[in-house]
C-alpha cells in the first residue's frame, strides 16, 4: 500500500529539525532510517501529517566511545555498530551479538539505533539491550537537553518519554568494566523477523569472581521490553553457578507476560524467556572464562 499523504520537511541542522517539530507538535514524526516507520505508514498504522527528515544531519551520525560512554547520534545506523572496530571487545559482547541479528543486513544499512528505541516495538531488539546495558537517551525539549534513563524512556508499546515537539538526539551506553561480558539470545522465525522471544544479559565480575552487577532484560515479553529486576538482584554478589542460573531463569519466566500471536503461545514464549536467559548467562560467564 501507498502511505497516506503527508508534508515532507528536510532538516539541514538539528535546530531546524527541532523548530519543525515544535511547530507541528503531535502531527509530526521524525524520519530517521524509516525501516519501521515507512512500513507502518504503508499499512496505515501510522499517518503522520508531517515527516521531518533528519537524514541530512551528518553531525548526528556519530558512533564514538567518549570516556565513560559509547555515544551515538540520532542517525547512527545499525551497520555502523556492527562494523565498529571496538565491537569485538568482550565487554561489548551483548551489543555485538545483537548487532548481527537485528533486522537483516540490508535493513541494517538504513535502520538507526535511536530510531529503534523511539519506535519502542515490544518485540524489538534494541530496547531490551538498552535495558540490560543501562543506556540513556538524550532528548531535546523546550527547556533544553536532558538525559533519560532507558527504564523511564520506554513508557509503553510504541510510546516513549519523548514528548510532543521533542526530539531524541542520541543515546549513550555506559562503557562496561573490563571484567564484563554479555549475550543476546533471540529466537526468530526467519532472519529479520521480530523476536518470538529474546533475552539480553550483561554481567560484570568482581576480582574475587563474584558478580558485581547484572543486567537482564526480555523482548517480546510484555507491552514493551522488560527488565527482570528479580534476576538482577539475585545474581548480584553471588558466585556464578548452575543453581544461580536456574533461579535467574525462573525469575525471567515469572516476569515474562507475552502476547500470543502467530509466533507462539503465551506458554511457549514464557518458556523461551526462561531458557534464553539461562543460555545467555551461561554464554556470558563462559566468555569471562567461568564455567557455571
Amino acid at each position: 500500500m501507498i502511505p497516506a499523504a503527508f508534508d515532507y520537511l528536510r532538516a539541514h541542522t538539528a535546530d531546524e529539525a527541532f523548530a519543525y517539530l515544535q511547530q507541528h507538535g503531535a502531527e509530526a514524526r521524525v524520519l530517521a532510517g524509516g525501516q519501521s516507520l515507512i512500513p507502518a505508514m504503508r499499512f496505515r498504522l501510522a499517518r503522520p501529517a508531517v515527516l521531518v527528515d533528519i537524514n541530512s544531519l551528518s553531525d548526528l551520525s556519530y558512533v564514538r566511545i567518549d570516556g565513560k560512554a559509547m555515544a551515538l547520534g540520532a542517525i547512527a545506523r545499525d551497520v555502523e555498530i556492527e562494523r565498529a572496530p571496538w565491537i569485538t571487545d568482550r565487554r561489548w559482547s551483548l551489543i555485538h551479538d545483537m548487532s548481527r541479528v537485528v533486522a537483516d543486513p540490508v535493513v541494517r544499512q538504513m535502520g538507526t539505533v535511536v530510531g529503534s528505541l523511539c519506535h519502542n516495538d515490544p518485540a524489538g531488539d534494541w530496547p531490551a539491550v538498552a535495558l540490560a546495558a543501562r543506556a540513556e537517551v538524550v532528548v531535546r525539549g523546550k527547556a533544553g537537553t536532558r538525559h533519560v534513563a532507558i527504564d523511564d524512556f520506554l513508557v509503553d508499546s510504541f510510546t516513549t518519554a519523548t514528548g510532543e515537539g521533542e526530539m531524541a538526539l542520541g543515546a549513550e551506553f555506559p562503557v562496561p568494566d573490563e571484567r564484563t561480558a554479555g549475550s543476546y539470545q533471540k529466537v526468530e522465525r526467519k532472519v529479520g523477523d521480530f523476536a518470538t522471544a529474546a533475552a539480553a544479559v550483561q554481567v560484570s565480575l568482581n576480582e574475587n569472581g563474584t558478580i558485581r552487577s547484572a543486567g537482564v532484560a526480555l523482548s517480546a515479553a510484555g507491552a514493551c521490553a522488560v527488565r527482570v529486576d528479580a534476576a538482577e538482584k539475585l545474581l548480584a554478589g553471588q558466585k556464578p553457578s548452575a543453581e544461580l542460573i536456574r533461579a535467574a531463569s525462573d525469575a525471567a519466566w515469572h516476569r515474562s507476560a507475552p502476547q500470543a500471536d502467530l509466533r507462539g503461545s503465551v506458554e511457549f514464549k514464557k518458556h523461551l524467556a526462561g531458557v534464553l536467559v539461562a543460555r545467555g548467562l551461561r554464554q556470558a560467564f563462559s566468555r569471562l572464562g567461568v564455567q557455571a
Binding site: Y8, L51, P105, V191
Partner: protein, 160 residues
C-alpha cells in the same frame, strides 16, 4: 515536490508526491522496471538498489525524496557496453535463478556485499544475502553465483 536523482548515471528530475516510494519512482517515473516490488514492506529484498555506490537499500521502504541528490544503481546499470557484469555472468553460469523475480535484489545486494568484502566466505555470502528471499532455488546456486563473481572480480583487479 521536485526530486533530482541520478540513476545509472542518468539524471532524472521529476515532480513527485512526498509519499512516492523510491521503488515506484524508479519503476513508474524513470520507467526502470528491473527493480521489483515483492512484499512491499522491507521483508523480501526484491527491491534492493545500491545508493551512492556501496550501500544496499530496500527501495520499497525509502521515499524518493530521500534519494534526492543521491546516486542510485539499479539492475539495469550493471551491464556495461553490452557485457554482463561478473555477478550477472555468475548467475547465468551457475543457474542462480529460476523464475528470476528475486534476482535484481539478489544482484544488487551482492554488488554492495562485494564492494565491502571482495573475498567473502560462503558464510559471509549467506549472511549478507539473508535479507533477500528466493522461493525457487534453495539459495545453493545463488551462493555459487556470488562466489564465481567474487573470484572473477578479484582476477580482473589483479590483472590491472
Amino acid at each position: 515536490m521536485k526530486v533530482h536523482v541520478k540513476v545509472n548515471g542518468v539524471s532524472y528530475e521529476r515532480d513527485v508526491e512526498a509519499r512516492t516510494l523510491l521503488a515506484y519512482f524508479l519503476r513508474e517515473d524513470c520507467r526502470l522496471t528491473g527493480t521489483h516490488v515483492g512484499c512491499d514492506t522491507s521483508s523480501c529484498g526484491c527491491c534492493v538498489v545500491v545508493m551512492d555506490g556501496e550501500k544496499a537499500v530496500k527501495s520499497c521502504s525509502m521515499f524518493a525524496a530521500q534519494a534526492d541528490g543521491h546516486e542510485i544503481l539499479t539492475v539495469e546499470g550493471l551491464a556495461q557496453g553490452g557485457k554482463l557484469h561478473a555477478l550477472q555472468q555468475g548467475f547465468w553460469d551457475q543457474h542462480g535463478l529460476q523464475c528470476g523475480f528475486c534476482t535484481p535484489g539478489m544482484l544488487m545486494t551482492a554488488y554492495a556485499l562485494l564492494k565491502h568484502n571482495a573475498a567473502p566466505t560462503e558464510a559471509d555470502i549467506r549472511e549478507g544475502l539473508a535479507g533477500n528471499l528466493c522461493r525457487c532455488t534453495g539459495y545453493q546456486n545463488i551462493v555459487k553465483s556470488v562466489q564465481q563473481a567474487a573470484g572473477a572480480l578479484r582476477e580482473a583487479v589483479a590483472a590491472t
